[in-house]
Point group: C2
Chain length 425, copies 2
């Protein structure tokens, strides 16, 4: 029995590792298009910023580790261009064919706008980061245009600003970070403005070639790498990502998918979404890998939790914004409070908490938190509350830890919940 | 209609404030034994350590604020020595009688061992802290014995060590911090040892007067202030604390209790416990205050979540330890893992996570976390999971936030849950 895994980053390697743990006799082959496997792509902006000295520092495991410790064969530089599911074969760009009994598709995503090179670059892979790094070192650009105000775009804006470049961000929608939330967009815009990053909301940049900037970064979004599977007959859904059931099996029996190339279920709406993130890649990879060996595990879905640091500001979200909730058929009610993350005498900084609940069911639907610290723990509490389908009243009685060095006696989350209860009454 | 609240710190003032919000016409009188109201008693060790410059900095609200903004009458220096519930009167030490229609008892707790003064002091109230502060300034003690390894004892041990004193802690049990947990005790003991605090576990100090130390702090535990209510016929339970129903009403109709003087329900066991903490005081105060005005709110109970900083080490717990779980009739299974709180290149420090689950139901029962950072957010996630009665498998699929400045892609909580699943399988 041979399992072939397409993709050697988060999802693919999680799948391969889990499969090996459950089945010692399976032959496992991972095919990775690029030259590196198992690197933390989310760390790339910090390589540009200078916090990470080398991309090698982002590599968690080497191919040798997988071969030696886990008996997993790793083949880099292998791009799969076709899947012939009837014959149980994948076809590589080289023409080589590799047979499989089980296939896990974890081919990730790629930028919607492909950069031509020169001073117009993408920023998604390790190779992109190396290209940009070399460009910065050799060309000393003084200004840059970043096309796209998603996570990567804004992290890169801050990283390049920290390196002294003049930065302009063009974003073709009115709200940032793939979150339809005017409040959150305002908080982020204020921080960008404080660092003198020029943010142009609701503005199309036009042709990258025509922009008068020393450096142009294309970061306007991603699309899933699914074409060979779609050609083989797999169904797709949101954003063109692969449809999967709750066992991460695609519509093609025996082919599982994981990571950025497939949909997941949203725990608040119960409906499929496409929110490609590294944590989800790891979790769906584990489930896909297990089920490809014959296990019957379920992936419970995601809350869309994420956090990003933008010029020192932690910006975190989970669940739905009011706008998103309304579109999903809820009657959202929203509050925003601002409180210290710790007592003043322990250098507590202001943390702003937005909670969204449904007027009818009084269930928590989503949240956003911004602040210079004390953000991640609190968004994680709310992500847990969403998974448990808690109502706002349940939040009120949460027994959260208190001690002056770490939190105020009435946690900002509880204060926000109290306000929301009042609005709901 | 007059509501009398006995106690002017966390629980009493929460009750009074909530009552005022729900009932604008009620007469509300708060009777406080001491001279100060509304101070953060948990901040007192930091006053001794020097982080807080004055106890006034710990005062959240003044009596004038309550009178002016909330129309709540505050009377300090008023100790209630008897309750005559038949006549709806409390009797003050001065002999004065004050009638009530509704009574909220929030009289807190006091040290089991009362210090005689001189170089033998307690450390519970603002007045205790002032006495100790003056002693340190005037007598320049070079060494101190602390009797009791609970929260306050260990915080004070670290605070006095930070001021340069030689510190010996005598603790008459084998486990610290009111938690029957050998693992946690070992972690804490290691940190104390690193700061050269001499910890004597399972050791009775003997008579404080006979101890050869310049300063002796008695911190061997607290007992609830309930005598006047008990004399009036109120029932007590664990630790001598007042029995209350889930509406915070005592066994005496029309008398509500809140804070350190009463029991609460434990969300894991569903049974009453007595775990006096400031956060619980605030929450039970709100419920008692509301119900005393005729509302019908419930207090859902506590998970026993707490955090303490001991010489830089954050030590946090929630729910039950294995030993406690066994005594409650569960079949506990426990794992401990140690992982970085953030990637290494973001200065991630090791955080140790202990999870306890029930072998039969696979429910999470409790947790403990220690580390120099990244502790409070994680214990709060687990406290939320306990409130939601989550199973270990539910933890595995929690959608926790990830970004290199804040967390690793596989959060230590998820790694611990994975290990625990393996043990349960």
């Amino acid at each position: 029995m041979r399992m072939v895994v397409v993709g050697g980053v988060a999802a693919g390697l999680s799948a391969a590792s889990r499969a090996r743990r459950l089945d010692r006799s399976l032959e496992i082959v991972v095919l990775e298009k690029g030259a590196r496997i198992s690197y933390g792509a989310c760390g790339l902006p910090y390589f540009i910023e200078g916090q990470v000295r080398s991309i090698e520092d982002l590599v968690v495991y080497t191919p040798e580790f997988f071969e030696r410790e886990r008996d997993i064969r790793i083949r880099t530089g292998c791009e799969v261009i076709a899947v012939q599911h009837g014959r149980r074969e994948v076809v590589l760009r080289s023409g080589e064919r590799i047979g499989y009994d089980r296939l896990v598709w974890a081919a990730g995503s790629r930028p919607i706008e492909k950069a031509p090179g020169g001073h117009i670059l993408n920023f998604q892979t390790d190779e992109d980061a190396e290209r940009l790094h070399a460009f910065l070192r050799e060309k000393h650009p003084r200004n840059t245009a970043i096309i796209g105000g998603g996570y990567m775009g804004l992290e890169m804006a801050a990283a390049l600003r920290a390196r002294g470049l003049e930065v302009t961000v063009f974003h073709d929608a009115t709200t940032l970070l793939n979150r339809e939330d005017d409040w959150l967009t305002k908080r982020v815009a204020a921080r960008l403005s404080r660092c003198r990053i020029d943010l142009r909301l609701n503005t199309r940049a036009g042709s990258p070639e025509s922009l008068p900037f020393d450096l142009v970064l294309l970061s306007s979004g991603a699309r899933p790498n699914v074409e060979p599977l779609v050609d083989a007959g797999a169904e797709t859904g949101r954003g063109g990502a692969l449809r999967v059931d709750d066992r991460m099996e695609t519509s093609l029996r025996g082919i599982y998918a994981a990571g950025d190339c497939c949909e997941t279920n949203h725990v608040v709406t119960g409906r499929p979404v496409w929110i490609p993130l590294g944590t989800t890649a790891n979790k769906t990879g584990r489930v896909a890998g297990a089920n490809a060996t014959g296990a019957r595990e379920r992936f419970e879905g995601i809350a869309g939790t994420s956090i990003v640091r933008i010029a020192g500001l932690a910006v975190a979200v989970t669940g739905l914004s009011s706008q998103q909730a309304r579109r999903e058929g809820f009657s959202p009610v929203e509050v925003v409070i601002e409180e210290r993350s710790r007592p003043k005498y322990f250098h507590g900084r202001k943390v702003a908490v937005q909670l969204v609940a449904d007027r009818n069911s009084r269930r928590l639907l989503g949240a956003a938190i911004t602040g210079d610290d004390g953000v991640i723990g609190r968004i994680n509490v709310l992500a847990t509350a969403l998974a448990a389908k808690m109502r706002v009243a349940d939040l009120l009685s949460l027994d959260l830890a208190y001690s002056p060095p770490y939190a105020p006696v009435m946690d900002p989350l509880l204060i926000a919940a109290q306000q929301l209860i009042r609005v709901l009454e």
